[in-house]
């Protein structure tokens, strides 16, 4: 059995054997868990999907004379400024004050917090407006200026809930009309089914009991380096699990943090969800050290062995009714059709499997080249075990 130290030594020498969460499947099938655990050092995972509960702390340079900013807008999008003089938190789902919202239904939500974050990361200029009431030490009452990623002192992506371990499949069973949800557009009479997970590539589905992913784990975040700083909000490890240990419903989540200045607009995208609102699509990749045979077995999980629940978003979800219309696996979902109540229903995803695959590949190459070492968590996430 290997340790973090041994794996990192191999990474530094450029000798680590690193494969993606897809590649490990065949390796384990061919060689068995014992040999795979011995030969493989790291398995990389990836996910790329809209992830609500995201945002950034931004500290902008103060004006002369100074302002103790009370309300701050970035490109017309409201931020939370109740932190200090020039610290704000820009949330991904925040909208401009003048947005039409759903007044003309369904609203298109073309711009919001997620888009400001993408613009910022892309190096574009952002209009900043701040107002205040004036104090002896901060006399200025209003400023309008332009900021960009280079001119701000800090921009720290701080997301309280990302990388959901599994998620619902959404359908519209009861409404007569098309409904517009955060899971996308759902046509009446179960016209389509939407899902949102990278399945066999997804970080927490490859580490179902959080044996390696914990507080302090270094990750790929939005194209830069980030860390898991806590278990995410709504983290719920106690959902039902299969015999393989894999959760069969939304379960664990991660709170992650990283320097926005290092990130890239390719992996952080403003997202407009018709009739619902805006959010941020984020690329996350997490390396899993193969410390034991158990761990390699978990990383070899296949789409066909990862199940999730079909949930109605027309009546049940809005009313807090916890009901499943069947279980499907990610192989079925990714093949394009699932059967619900005897009907073949076409599937669509909000999570990009192609991008998830690219992230796992990028992370693999970084580790192979010795540019990304692994960190041992300082504390585990609660596992419900």
């Amino acid at each position: 059995m290997k340790t973090y130290k041994e794996i990192n030594e191999k990474i530094r020498k450029g000798e680590a054997v690193v494969v993606t969460a897809e590649e490990i499947i065949d390796i384990v099938e061919e060689k068995g868990t014992k040999r795979a655990a011995k030969e493989v050092d790291v398995v990389t995972t990836g996910t790329f999907a809209p992830m609500c509960s995201s945002g950034a702390f931004i500290n902008f340079k103060n004006s002369t004379p100074k302002i103790r900013a009370q309300k701050v807008w970035l490109n017309g999008v409201n931020t939370y400024a109740g932190l200090a003089a020039t610290d704000v938190y820009l949330g991904a789902t925040e909208l401009p004050d003048e947005d039409l919202l759903n007044k003309v239904f369904p609203g298109s939500f073309k711009y919001g917090g997620g888009h400001v974050l993408e613009d910022l990361v892309a190096g574009r200029h952002i209009k900043l407006r701040a107002i205040s009431y004036g104090t002896d030490c901060y006399p200025k009452r209003e400023i309008e200026t332009v900021i960009d990623i280079k001119s701000v002192n800090q921009a720290i992506l701080t997301n309280p809930r990302n990388a959901y371990q599994n998620y619902n499949v959404a359908i519209n069973k009861y409404s007569e009309r098309t409904i517009y949800t955060y899971m996308g557009i759902l046509r009446s009479k179960i016209g389509n089914a939407n899902y949102c997970s990278a399945g066999q590539l997804s970080p927490l589905l490859n580490d179902p009991f959080y044996k390696t992913i914990g507080i302090g784990t270094k990750i790929f975040l939005g194209g830069g380096e980030g860390f898991v700083y806590w278990e995410g909000t709504q983290h719920n490890p106690s959902v039902k699990r299969g015999t393989n240990g894999v959760v069969r419903a939304p379960a664990g989540t991660l709170a992650v943090v990283g320097d926005l200045k290092q990130m890239s607009p390719e992996w952080l995208k403003g997202t407009s969800i018709t009739g619902y609102g805006v959010t941020l699509t984020i690329g996350i990749g997490i390396p899993i050290p193969i410390l034991s045979e158990d761990i390699v077995k978990y990383t070899a999980v296949k789409d066909k062995d990862i199940y999730t629940q079909i949930v109605d978003y027309s009546k049940d979800y809005p009313n807090g009714v916890n009901k499943s219309y069947g279980e499907v696996n990610y192989k079925q979902l990714r093949d394009g059709y699932i059967e619900i109540e005897g009907k073949q229903v076409p599937t669509g995803a909000l999570s990009s499997y192609k991008k998830a695959r690219e992230i796992a590949e990028i992370l693999k190459n970084k580790i192979k080249k010795g540019r990304f070492e692994l960190t041992k968590p300082v504390k585990s996430l609660s596992s419900g075990e």
Partner: protein
């Protein structure tokens, strides 16, 4: 026999006229209506596939032009911005003609203009504004 796919935009005052009837009856054209939409107080939009001889087709087009109906070829109508597409597949179940399709091995989305009937269902399904209607 020539086949042409066009987007016809009707001015408000023409909306109530039986234009398609005349195309069939007077110009001997075969019309396949792919999509029709009339919004109150607004214009009408008709996406059609028109087939007929070269001469008949030209005459029919002249008739439409005389009525101030704007004619655009369908191919220019819907634009897929590949650089904005993240290949999430949110649009896939909404496309009725497989103009937007997914390679299940590479999980890459692609767009085939020839198959597109400009129904616009994909536009609101795309979270990244990667599909645009060009008018």
């Amino acid at each position: 026999m020539i086949k042409k796919r066009v987007v016809l935009t009707f001015p408000h005052e023409i909306v109530s006229q039986p234009v398609v009837y005349h195309l069939v009856k007077d110009y001997n054209l075969m019309i396949n209506i792919l999509r029709a939409r009339v919004t109150p107080q607004e214009q009408g939009r008709l996406v059609v596939e028109i087939s007929g001889s070269k001469k008949e087709l030209e005459a029919g087009m002249n008739y439409l032009a005389e009525l101030n109906i704007d004619i655009q070829s369908l191919a220019r109508d819907i634009k897929w911005h590949e650089n904005k597409c993240v290949h999430c597949t949110a649009c896939i179940p909404h496309c009725p003609t497989d103009a937007i399709s997914l390679d299940r091995d590479t999980m890459k989305v692609s767009f085939d203009k020839e198959k597109c009937i400009a129904c616009e269902l994909c536009i609101s399904a795309c979270p990244y504004q990667a599909i645009e209607i060009v008018i």
